[in-house]
């Protein structure tokens, strides 16, 4: 299911992951990330978008981090 909402994410920046989302708040609920299953990067013109496929153990989410606006989005949810 496509979402596309801005969210607040608690993330760690640094090696070896560079960026590792740890938890996020969506619809008033804080979701702990159990596994970052895949990461990839895309370009929208000159803008870099970092994609994270993450799971809380039961649901799969896709989060994006916009390296220009420094905003996080929840892009989709798959139960």
């Amino acid at each position: 299911m496509k979402i596309g909402e801005d969210i607040t994410v608690l993330a760690a920046f640094g090696m070896p992951y560079r960026i590792k989302p740890l938890s996020f708040t969506w619809s008033g609920r804080t979701i702990e990330i159990k596994e970052v299953t895949y990461t990839w990067k895309t370009k929208e013109g000159q803008k870099d978008l970092h994609h994270f496929s993450v799971t809380d153990g039961s649901t799969l989410f896709e989060l994006t981090f916009d390296a220009v606006s420094l905003l996080w989005k929840i892009e989709s949810v798959e139960t």
Partner: protein, 398 residues
């Protein structure tokens, strides 16, 4: 990479791990582009339509491919390869040849390089790959095919004869079904038989490649790696329509979108072309191409589009259209200093330059012809010819 797209999808979604899955395009009438090893056990093959695949494996899970993940991974994989040698040929989105002749001593030998690459790929992406090591790419490809999945095999020169002795010729890279059948007509079934066959016999049957086939049977191959992509012979795009149609408005809108993509790629890499080719596939899979050769070289979207439409106007469509494609060929490098002959040409060139720079900055199709809005959703299957750089690097959208 082993079952590349399927492995990525299984890594992304833990619920798919260990299950038979098939990666498909996003269109309604798509085919299997890759299948997991679990699905292969049921006989699911690449290119099968989803009904055939589901019939063989009712529990098959269909996953719409996400080309952005695959192209990103392929680009990052080339970064890993570059740590071991600068001499790399990215052969396809999931295969690469590395020449480690001059660097292997720095890393403990070819086998150590193979193991390190496998580990780095697993650590970074969580997917498996197979490494074949040999004195040439023919034998390296064979070694990799034998060692799949998740293997590493080194075929040394002294091992080649034993390996090839009873190996069917069809196992060799570059020998397809048609060549296999023609070799069988000569009584040649194994690589050893091919290697021992008289050159005159092979030349008589296959012409100039007869001698090369004999060498292949002996495990020899002198094809060098292609490190630098050669200038393309053509630049083209095609799309399978969401549904078969005879509606010229819909077809023209698709042609405009494809012409935009061809023109933009030609301009981005500095090419102009003199020949426009239109490809049409009918609902019944009958496919034909028709082309027009122009007096001048072009790369502007509207000129490509108008020529493609003119070709289409000259054809009486006898069935609904399933696939449509546009390509530009007889390419040469664009001379930026060439002045436009007519004022309108200069204006159009400036306009396209402005559109291209806006799309470079904000993303493809940020500025586009309004008619693009009429186009249908494409099936979005990635071309196997995609490369992480050069003219074959196409910005893939979901």
């Amino acid at each position: 990479m082993d079952a590349f797209f399927a492995s990525v999808e299984q890594k992304v979604n833990p619920k798919l791990r260990g299950k038979p899955i098939a990666v498909i395009g996003s269109g309604g009438r798509t085919v299997v582009t890759t299948r997991s090893y679990e699905a292969r056990k049921y006989g699911v093959k690449t290119g099968m339509n989803i009904y055939e695949a589901k019939k063989l494996c009712p529990d098959l899970i269909l996953v719409v491919g996400d080309n952005e993940k695959y192209t990103y991974t392929c680009t990052e994989l080339s970064v890993i390869y570059n740590r071991y040698t600068p001499d790399i040929e990215i052969y396809s989105i999931d295969e690469a040849f590395l020449d480690v002749t001059t660097t292997h001593h720095l890393f403990g030998g070819p086998e150590a390089i193979g193991s390190s690459i496998k580990k780095e790929v697993k650590d970074q992406f969580g997917i498996n790959c197979t490494v074949g090591i040999a004195p040439n790419i023919l034998m390296a490809k064979l070694a990799s095919d034998i060692a799949k999945p998740d293997g590493l095999k080194w075929v040394k020169p002294e091992d080649a004869e034993t390996l090839l002795k009873d190996l069917p010729v069809k196992e060799l890279w570059g020998i397809g079904a048609a060549t296999t059948e023609r070799l069988e007509q000569l009584g040649i079934r194994t690589c050893a038989e091919l290697g021992k066959a008289p050159v005159s016999l092979l030349r008589n049957k296959f012409g100039i490649i007869g001698e090369a086939l004999k060498h292949m049977g002996q495990g020899h191959c002198d094809r060098p790696l292609i490190f630098k992509e050669e200038d393309p012979k053509s630049i083209g795009h095609s799309t399978t329509l969401a549904k078969d149609t005879s509606d010229r408005e819909v077809i023209n809108a698709e042609l405009l979108k494809l012409s935009s993509m061809v023109g933009r790629r030609a301009r981005k890499h500095g090419f102009v072309g003199k020949k426009v080719t239109l490809t049409v596939r009918y609902a019944g899979f009958e496919t034909f191409t028709k082309q027009t050769t122009l007096q001048f070289h072009i790369n502007s979207t509207h000129k490509i589009y108008h020529n493609a439409v003119d070709i289409l106007d000259s054809i009486r469509l006898v069935d609904k259209v399933r696939l449509i494609g546009v390509s530009l060929s007889q390419l040469m490098r664009e001379n930026e200093d060439q002045m436009a002959l007519f004022n309108d040409d200069a204006k159009a060139k400036s306009m396209l330059k402005a559109v291209d720079s806006l799309n470079d900055k904000f993303g493809d199709f940020t500025v586009m012809w309004a008619s693009h809005l009429k186009t249908m959703e494409p099936s979005n299957v990635i071309s196997p010819a995609w490369k992480p750089g050069g003219v074959r690097n196409i910005n893939i959208k979901k």
